[in-house]
Amino acid sequence: MYNDKNKQKIVDIIKNAARKHSLWVLAYGTGCGAIEVPATMTSRYDAERLGVRGAATPRQADVLLITGYLTVKTLKRVIRVYEQMQDPKYVIGFGSCTINGGMYFDSYNTINQLDLYLPVDVYISGCMPRPEAVLEGFGKLQELIGKGIANGAQQYKENLDFYRENQKKVIKNWDFQDYNW
C-alpha cells in the first residue's frame, strides 16, 4: 500500500502535483467544528490561496472534512457520502472527537475512533482546532499527496471487509447498496 516518491511514475508525480494544489472540500458539518470552517475559508485565513475551495456535491469533492463527533446516525450518512466520492479522495478527521471521542468518549451514541470506519489521511487534533491548525492540517495533507502516500481510498478498497465489519457492528440497520467506484 505504501509507495514512496521514488516508486512513483512521472505521470503520478505530475498528477499529484496538480491534486495537492486543488483540494475541493466537502465539509460535513456534523459537530461544533463546522463553525471553524467559515473562518478558515473567509478573508482572515484565506484557504483558497492554497487551492482549497468548497465543493457542492460528493461527486465533485476530493476531501471529506469531518468536523467533530459522529453519532451512529450521522456516521451512516458520512459513509454513504464517502463512497459517492470519486477517486482520488481523502478524509480529514477534524477535532479530538474523531480521534478518541473527545468529550463524548463515554456517550451512548457517538463513535470514538473514526479510522475504524473510514480511512483517515490526516487528523487535526484540538477541541476546537483553530483555523491555523486547520491550515496546518491541509498543508500536511498536501505534503502527503505530493509524496504519493495519501492513499486512504486504496487502503479502504483493499481491506474493505474490515471496514464493513466495523461499520455494520455499529450501524444496525444497514440498508444501502454496496460501494460504487
Binding site: T57, P58, V78, Q84, Q177, N180
Partner: protein, 616 residues
C-alpha cells in the same frame, strides 16, 4: 379515365370496403387499409403529371380536376404522411374498437385532401373541403369523450369557415359567371374595390380556421388532443396544411393585385406571430403531452402563416419549407406520444418518467424531432427558421421578427418539458415493466426523423419543388440567388453553407463523445437514478425525487400578464351575451354549443352587413 379519378375511386371504394371488412377479419381490414393507401400513393408517385385536366360533368356544373406544381408539393406531404401514419395506425389500432369507423374516416379524409389539392374549380374545392371537415370531425369525436366540449367547437368554427367560403364562392360566381379558379384570378382585376377586399377576407377566414389562425384557433387544442394520435399526426401534419395551401393561393394570386396589399399582409403576419407567441406560452403551461403538442402546432402554423403572409420569395420559401418540416417533426412527436400512451396507458407528463432506457428508439425519434422543432442546426428545422428570420429582417419587419424570435426561444421550454417529462428524470418502479413499442410503430417515426436529419444538410431536395411551385405563380426564380445546392442566401447576399456546418458539428461531437465515452466505458458502471447526492440520506422506495410539479413556474409567473386573457373565454362571453340578447332563442336553443352555432350565423350576417354598408 384519368389518373386522378382512378385514385379518388380507389380511395372511396377502399374506404367503403375497409369499413365493412370487419365482418371478415381484423387482419383483412388492416391489409385492405394499407393496401388502399399504398396503391393510391404508388399510382400517384408513378405518373405525376401537372398538365392534365379531367372534367367531371355534373348536371350543368363541370368539376375540373388537375394538378399544379403547388398542389403537387402539398400532395407529397399528404401522401408521405398518409403512408407512414397508416402503417403506424395499424400498429396503434391493434385491439381497439371501432376500427372500421377509424379506417373509413382516415381514408376519406386523405381522399378529401387529395381532392382539395387537385380541384381547379371552387365547387369541387368546397365539396372536398366539406368531406375533409366531416371526416376529421368524426375522428375528433372518435373516443366519445366530452364530445359536447370539443366536437361542437370544431364543428362550429369549421362551419364559420365553410359559410364564409361558400359566400365567397357565390359572390365570385355572380361576378365572374364561372367557378374556375383561373377565371377568378383573371377576372379579379375588374371587380369593384370592396369586392376585391371582401373576397380575400372571406376566403382567408375559411382557410384561417383550418390553419388555426389567432381568433379562430380555439378548436385546435381539444380537437388535436382528442383524436387518435395516429390520425392527429395527419391532422396536424397534413390537414392543417390545407389551410396554408389555400392561403398561399390567395396571397399569390389575389392579394398581390390589391392596392392595400401591404396592410393585409401585415395584419395577417401579425396575427400569425401573435398566435405563435400566445400558443407557445400556453404550451409551456400544459401538463398533458397531447395538449402541449397541440398548442405547439398552433404556434408552428403561426410561423408558417407569417412566412406566407409576408410573401417575399424568401418568405414564401421559408413558409413552405416550414410547412413540410412541421409535417415531418410534429407528426413524429404525435406518434411518439401515441406510442408512449399505448405502452404506459397515459400521456400525462407528470406521471410518466424515465423511459429513456425502456424505449430507446422512441427516445431517439423524439430527440431528433425536438431538435428539429427547436430549429437548432444542423437539422431541418433550422433551415426554415433561418429563411424566415432573414426574410423578415430583409423586408423590414423588425418588431415582427423579435416577436417570432421570442416565441421560438420560448419553444425550448416546452421542448425540454416534453423530453424530460417522458424520457429523463427518475426511473420509477411503476414504469419498470414498460417495453419498446412494436416495430410497425417505431419504424415510421425513425423514417420521419431521418428525413428531418437529411433535410438539414440537403434542403435542395425540398427547395426545388417549392421553387417550381412558386415560379408557376410567376414569382421570380429563387435558384442561385436565394439557394444553391446546400447553401441558402438572403437578399443581402449573406449565406449559410449547411454542409460544412454539418461536418463541423459531427466532427466535434464525435471527438468529445469518444473522449468522454470510450475512455470510461470499461471503468465506469451504470448506477440507478436513486444513487444521487442526497446529502448522505439513503432515498427510500416511496420517497419522491421527481421534479414535475410547477415546471417553469417562475417563467410563467414572469409572463402571467400575457396569459390572463383567453380568446376562448371571449368567444364564450360573446355567445353568452347573444344568449341574453335574444332571449327567445333560449327556448329554441339551449346548451353551450348551440349558442356557438348562433354566434356562427350572426358572425356571417355581420360580415354581410359590413360588406354591403361599409364598402358600397
Amino acid at each position: 379515365m384519368d389518373i386522378i379519378n382512378i385514385i379518388l375511386v380507389i380511395f372511396f371504394a377502399g374506404a367503403l370496403i375497409t369499413a365493412f371488412a370487419a365482418k371478415i377479419s381484423s387482419i383483412v381490414q388492416d391489409i385492405l387499409f394499407i393496401g388502399t393507401i399504398l396503391a393510391t400513393s404508388i399510382i400517384f408517385f408513378l405518373n405525376i403529371n401537372t398538365n392534365t385536366e379531367t372534367i367531371i360533368n355534373l348536371s350543368h356544373i363541370n368539376l375540373t380536376l388537375g394538378l399544379t406544381p403547388l398542389s403537387l408539393y402539398f400532395a407529397f406531404i399528404v401522401f408521405g404522411l398518409a403512408v407512414l401514419a397508416g402503417f403506424y395506425a395499424v400498429g396503434q389500432m391493434q385491439g381497439k374498437k371501432k376500427k372500421g369507423y377509424f379506417y373509413f374516416n382516415y381514408l376519406l379524409s386523405i381522399a378529401a385532401m387529395f381532392g382539395i389539392l387537385v380541384s381547379k374549380d371552387l365547387v369541387s374545392f368546397f365539396i372536398f373541403w366539406e368531406i375533409m371537415t366531416w371526416s376529421s370531425y368524426l375522428l375528433v369525436i372518435y373516443n366519445g369523450e366530452n364530445v359536447q366540449k370539443t366536437g361542437i367547437k370544431y364543428f362550429v368554427l369549421s362551419a364559420i369557415g365553410a359559410y364564409s367560403m361558400l359566400m365567397a364562392i357565390v359572390i365570385i360566381h355572380s361576378l365572374t359567371g364561372s367557378f374556375l379558379i383561373s377565371d377568378l384570378i383573371s377576372g379579379f382585376n375588374n371587380m369593384s374595390a370592396n369586392m376585391q377586399i371582401l373576397i380575400p377576407v372571406l376566403l382567408l377566414t375559411g382557410f384561417g380556421v383550418k390553419a388555426a389562425l389567432m381568433p379562430l384557433h380555439i378548436w385546435a387544442p381539444d380537437a388535436y388532443s382528442n383524436a387518435p394520435m395516429s390520425y392527429t399526426a395527419i391532422f396536424s401534419g397534413a390537414l392543417s396544411k390545407m389551410g396554408i395551401y389555400g392561403m398561399v393561393i390567395v396571397f399569390l394570386t389575389l392579394i398581390t393585385k390589391l392596392p392595400q396589399e401591404t396592410l393585409i399582409r401585415d395584419i395577417i403576419a401579425w396575427l400569425g406571430a401573435i398566435t405563435a407567441a400566445i400558443s407557445t406560452l400556453w404550451a409551456i403551461k400544459q401538463d398533458d403531452a397531447k395538449r402541449l403538442l397541440a398548442y405547439s402546432s398552433i404556434g408552428q402554423l403561426g410561423y408558417i402563416v407569417v412566412g406566407v403572409a409576408i410573401g417575399t420569395p424568401l418568405a414564401m420559401l421559408a413558409g413552405l419549407f416550414l410547412a413540410f418540416m412541421h409535417g415531418v417533426f410534429k407528426s413524429t412527436l404525435f406518434m411518439v406520444v401515441g406510442a408512449i400512451e399505448k405502452q404506459t396507458g397515459t400521456s400525462n407528463l407528470k406521471e410518466v418518467t424515465g423511459l429513456i432506457r425502456k424505449m430507446p428508439w422512441t427516445f431517439i425519434a423524439a430527440l431528433i424531432s425536438i431538435i428539429a422543432l427547436a430549429g437548432i442546426p444542423p437539422l431541418g428545422g433550422f433551415v426554415g427558421k433561418w429563411m424566415l428570420y432573414e426574410s423578415l429582417i430583409t423586408s423590414n419587419h423588425y418588431l415582427l421578427v423579435t416577436l417570432v424570435f421570442f416565441s421560438s426561444t420560448a419553444a425550448f421550454l416546452y421542448c425540454y418539458k416534453f423530453l424530460f417529462g417522458f424520457f429523463l428524470g427518475q426511473e420509477e418502479k411503476e414504469w419498470s415493466h414498460v417495453k419498446e413499442a412494436p416495430a410497425i410503430m417505431v419504424v415510421p417515426m425513425l423514417i420521419l426523423s431521418l428525413i428531418s436529419v437529411v433535410l438539414g444538410s440537403f434542403p435542395q431536395l425540398i427547395l426545388k419543388p417549392i421553387n417550381s411551385a412558386l415560379s408557376y405563380y410567376s414569382l421570380p426564380d429563387t435558384y442561385n440567388n436565394l439557394w444553391k445546392e446546400s447553401m441558402i442566401f438572403n437578399k443581402w447576399g449573406d449565406q449559410v453553407a449547411l454542409t460544412p456546418i454539418v461536418y463541423g458539428v459531427a466532427i466535434v461531437f464525435i471527438v468529445f463523445a469518444v473522449f468522454l465515452f470510450f475512455k470510461n466505458r470499461k471503468t465506469s458502471r451504470y448506477v440507478t437514478t436513486k444513487d444521487i447526492s442526497t446529502s448522505g440520506e439513503v432515498p427510500k422506495e416511496h420517497e419522491n425525487l421527481t421534479f414535475k410539479e410547477n415546471f417553469f413556474q417562475p417563467f410563467l409567473r414572469a409572463v402571467e400578464p400575457a396569459m390572463k386573457r383567453q380568446m376562448d373565454k371571449y368567444m364564450l362571453a360573446f355567445a353568452k351575451g347573444l344568449e341574453d340578447l335574444f332571449d327567445f332563442t333560449r327556448r329554441i336553443y339551449n346548451g353551450n354549443g348551440q349558442t356557438y352555432a348562433i354566434y356562427a350565423i350572426i358572425f356571417v350576417i355581420i360580415l354581410l352587413l359590413l360588406s354591403n354598408n361599409l364598402f358600397s
